[in-house]
């Protein structure tokens, strides 16, 4: 089944077209990596998919999604603990009272443990390093068990061990839960290597001046480069 479908999506900032008629589909359990130069429209495309910027044209079809932004819009000195932030990833839209369920708390605790943040759970996020904060954002996104993960350069500031851990977790989510992953990255070789280890079926797409071209399977990316 298709987890994400874009039809002719266009985004404009003022008079400037930053995403130009992008169409794509991401299937359940699939990893799609989008690469491209700075300012090519990758992050804007993700924000358009999430409804954070209005679409000038086109259509987005998706289910519940979780998101790891390139940079968090919250203040660094906001009085929130790691636990409080990760737990927000389990919130669902709708008219039910927004109370955390036992399963939500368990999922948040598991995500915190997965990213090695248990000892920091009661610390305020403002006291964390950049890499630790990145792990908090990843734990928040993965705690929600959504069918679609949108990751904007998720490995920025992460050490190799945590990057390996992240790809392992993504592989498990893709295989076991059929989660679709759309990842913006500058490091396709690394993604290809880890995806190979996790036996992930992935595709690569490139963005240039707001236009997207799907290049093909991730595993053949290195061969094409060579």
């Amino acid at each position: 089944m298709t987890a994400l479908k874009l039809e002719n999506v266009t985004i404009r900032y003022g008079g400037t077209v930053v995403v130009d008629g992008v169409s794509l589909a991401v299937e359940e359990g699939e990893l799609l990596c989008i690469a491209g130069a700075n300012g090519s429209g990758k992050s804007s495309l993700l924000r358009g998919i999430l409804g954070l910027v209005p679409l000038a044209g086109g259509r987005v079809e998706r289910g519940r999604a979780a998101f790891v932004p390139q940079s968090e819009d919250a203040d660094r000195d906001f009085p929130a603990t790691v636990w409080e932030v990760v737990l927000t990833g389990t919130q669902c839209p709708g008219w039910r009272l927004p109370l955390y369920s036992r399963s939500g708390r368990k999922a948040a605790a598991r995500a915190i443990a997965d990213f090695g943040l248990t000892s920091l759970a009661r610390h305020e996020v403002g006291t964390l390093s950049g890499g630790q904060m990145r792990r908090v954002l990843l734990a928040r996104a993965l705690s929600g068990h959504t069918g679609l993960l949108l990751l904007d350069e998720p490995c920025t500031g992460l050490d190799p061990a945590i990057r390996r851990l992240l790809y392992g977790l993504l592989g498990r989510r893709c295989h076991e839960e059929g989660t679709a992953v759309l990842m913006v990255t500058h490091n396709l070789n690394e993604v290809r290597a880890f995806a190979g280890e996790e036996a992930l079926s992935g595709r690569v797409a490139f963005m240039e001046h707001g236009r997207l071209s799907v290049a093909g399977p991730l595993r053949s990316y290195g061969e094409e480069q060579a």
Binding site: L50, L52, P69, F78, P79, E84, T88, P93, R140, L150
Partner: protein
């Protein structure tokens, strides 16, 4: 005043009414203040109180019931500030500045064209806590119940929206609905608070307890509780000092809040130096 005289004062119904209304408005302002301060909308209380001043001045000039004019006008102004800051893509501070300058000018105009700076206008500017009625007690109790219930039921949403609006939107949560809720409760708190503290001082009840509590609290939940505690404590101490030394009530409450802020700030500095 002797202590016996002070305790005798506490038996008067008008003093008890003032204490009850003040405590409830302080509670509402301090809880909403946490969200507003963290969202960098600290001055919305100041902006809305000036809108309140304008609407009360117009009501006084036209001989209309003050609260019935002020409540809807301030409510609409709070929505307008929210709309301007979001749709015009300007900061919240600019939207507040536009609304408050326009309202202040209108208020001054209405005062000048009406009966001038009479006791009604003086009461709007500086408040009259000891003149609260039983109706004020009932309205304040209803408002406090609304604010506390909103925080109890929607605490998790309010936390998420205050922390990261973008993430809340990405989860599909209806962010404008909660923004409207906070705006509406703030507007009603400002209108009620103006009768107590006056339009010149009400914003301090929104800002100061949250800023004071921020020096002590670890996490959002403890910040909400501590802000409410600090606010009610400073209100009680401020009103006691105003009665004992015969000081203006609103000013005493604000200066007690400022004292608490300086004390926590100094304690925080000393603690950091000691580490």
């Amino acid at each position: 005043m002797t202590w016996a005289g002070f305790f005798e004062l506490l038996t008067y119904p008008f003093v008890l009414r003032a204490m009850a209304v003040g405590a409830m408005i302080s509670l509402c302002a301090s809880m909403l203040g946490v969200v507003l301060v963290l969202k960098r909308y600290s001055l919305i209380g100041h902006g809305l109180s000036e809108v309140g001043f304008a609407s009360l001045s117009v009501a006084a000039a036209l001989g209309l019931p003050p609260l019935l004019v002020a409540a809807p006008v301030v409510l609409l102004a709070s929505f307008a500030i929210l709309f301007i800051s979001q749709r015009w893509r300007v900061g919240g501070d600019i939207a507040i500045a536009v609304a408050s300058s326009a309202a202040l000018a209108l208020g001054v105009l209405a005062t000048a064209l009406g009966s001038g700076l009479n006791t009604d206008v003086y009461g709007i500017l500086f408040g009259s806590l000891l003149a609260t009625t039983e109706g004020d007690v009932a309205v304040s109790a209803g408002l406090a119940l609304l604010v506390v219930t909103a925080f109890l039921l929607f605490y998790n949403r309010l936390f998420l929206i205050t922390y990261s609006e973008d993430y809340a939107r990405s989860l599909g949560i209806c962010v404008p609905l909660y923004q409207l809720l906070i705006s509406a409760l703030t507007a009603l708190t400002v209108v009620m608070g103006m009768r107590m503290m006056g339009s010149l001082l009400i914003s301090s009840l929104i800002i100061l307890p949250a800023v004071t509590a921020r020096h002590v609290a670890a996490g959002f939940r403890s910040l909400v509780f501590l802000s409410a505690g600090v606010s009610i404590f400073c209100f009680s101490l401020g009103i006691i000092l105003s009665v004992i030394w015969d000081l203006p009530t609103g000013a005493s409450i604000v200066l007690t809040n400022v004292g608490a802020l300086l004390l926590t700030r100094m304690t925080d500095c000393l603690r950091r130096c000691a580490q």
